[in-house]
């Protein structure tokens, strides 16, 4: 999960209240999927329990928004580590597509039609991302591009697999 690490990273800029973190998360990372307040505070209390943040001061009054959170050395080290280390290159979707194609061939179902439908779904999503890109700022462009390049990689795999279905069918059917 990237939410705890993203919140930690935001705290690395400056000590903040929960509502500041939520606002910045939603602006830069949420992309139409705002972080519920409950998740902000449960994440912050877990980070506090693990010694990655501390509460610096509590303003008078009631409610969680009175607390200001500060990142600890341990938290900062974790952010540093996360940023420096590459992410596991995990082709999630491809695993699903692969399983579907192989099963379809084993079960003598129309693998080619499944691939065609998947291609259409991918292109549909790519059109949406292109539209977002064309109407948004640079942050939107970067996020949309990331999605677009991944979908494009899937599509290449779909084309290559489509071209090899006959051979693949022979190999997986007994």
């Amino acid at each position: 999960m990237t939410v705890p690490l993203t919140l930690l990273g935001l705290l690395e800029r400056e000590p903040s209240h929960g509502y500041d973190l939520k606002r910045d998360y939603d602006t830069f990372f949420g992309r139409g999927k705002p972080l519920p307040y409950g998740q902000v505070y449960s994440t912050l209390s877990r980070l506090a329990r693990d010694g990655k943040v501390v509460v610096s001061d509590v303003e008078p009054g009631a409610g969680p928004d009175r607390k200001r959170y500060v990142i600890t050395d341990r938290g900062a080290t974790e952010v540093e580590h996360w940023l420096t280390e590459p992410v596991e290159p995990e082709p999630h979707l491809q695993t699903v597509l692969f399983a579907k194609v192989v099963l379809a061939l084993m079960l003598d179902r129309p693998a080619e039609a499944y691939l065609d439908t998947q291609r259409a779904a991918h292109l549909h999503r790519m059109r949406e991302l292109t539209e977002i890109k064309r109407s948004g700022g640079l942050v939107d462009v970067m996020l949309a591009d990331h999605g677009l390049y991944h979908l494009e990689a899937d599509l290449r795999w779909i084309e290559a697999t489509g071209a090899r279905l006959d051979a693949l069918r022979k190999e997986v059917r007994r």
Partner: protein, 226 residues
């Protein structure tokens, strides 16, 4: 839906090599359609048949109320000049002419006098971010600039249909996207229908919908989403 351009069951062979084997496609007025498919599947041949450059062996091609495939060469050539614009992958600018003269070419061929033709051509330079390059020759333009000049030339006569065959094929991906953004924006402003041939999904994603050509036939994809 008003159909601008349509192929019905079109076949075409280069000698013994079949390139189209019963391709059907209808494009609505103002629509931007991507024609995708692997290399050699028949995309360019389909574009050439739709644009009246090639005459199909069988089947029909219509543009609005005009049946193109039964016209003689002179009439097809006039129809291309009056209704269609073109952008290709490479080498389309006339090297001896300036960029502005290249853009003005379709107007000059359409019988418009040089003064007004060049004025209309120059208006496109600002619009496509090419201001100041009017007097350059094609050898003095970057790939992206040359392709934007070619786009201006394809649209300057306000064609009904713009045919674009791999228009970004020779460009790096960011430059290609700039050109695609301009192509889509200007085509929409003018209400020009676009037939965009590309094998690149990222380019096809600029269109309203896609069709896939495989072995000379068209697979209309399953409808997805709303």
């Amino acid at each position: 839906m008003t159909v601008t351009i349509e192929a019905r069951d079109v076949t075409f062979a280069f000698g013994e090599t079949p390139a189209l084997r019963g391709a059907s496609l209808a494009v609505a007025a103002g629509e931007i359609i991507a024609v995708m498919g692997p290399s050699g599947s028949g995309k360019s041949t389909l574009l050439h048949c739709l644009a009246g450059i090639l005459v199909p062996d069988s089947g029909e091609v219509r543009c609005g109320d005009v049946r193109i495939d039964t016209l003689g060469e002179a009439d097809r050539s006039a129809l291309r000049r009056d209704r269609f614009g073109f952008v290709f992958q490479f080498g389309q600018l006339v090297p001896e002419l300036t960029a502005a003269e290249n853009v003005a070419l379709p107007l000059l061929l359409g019988g418009i006098r040089r003064g007004p033709a060049l004025r209309a051509a120059r208006a496109w330079f600002e619009r496509l971010g090419l201001a100041g390059l009017e007097h350059r020759r094609s050898g003095e333009l970057s790939g992206g600039q040359a392709q934007r000049v070619a786009l201006a030339r394809g649209l300057v006569a306000r064609p009904q249909v713009l045919f674009a065959d791999e228009p970004t094929g020779a460009l790096d991906s960011l430059t290609g996207e700039e050109v695609m953004g301009l192509l889509v924006d200007t085509a929409r402003e003018q209400g020009t229908t676009v037939v965009l041939v590309t094998h690149e999904p990222r380019v096809a994603a600029y269109a309203d919908r896609e069709v896939v050509v495989r072995d000379g036939r068209i697979n209309a994809p399953a409808r997805v989403g709303s």
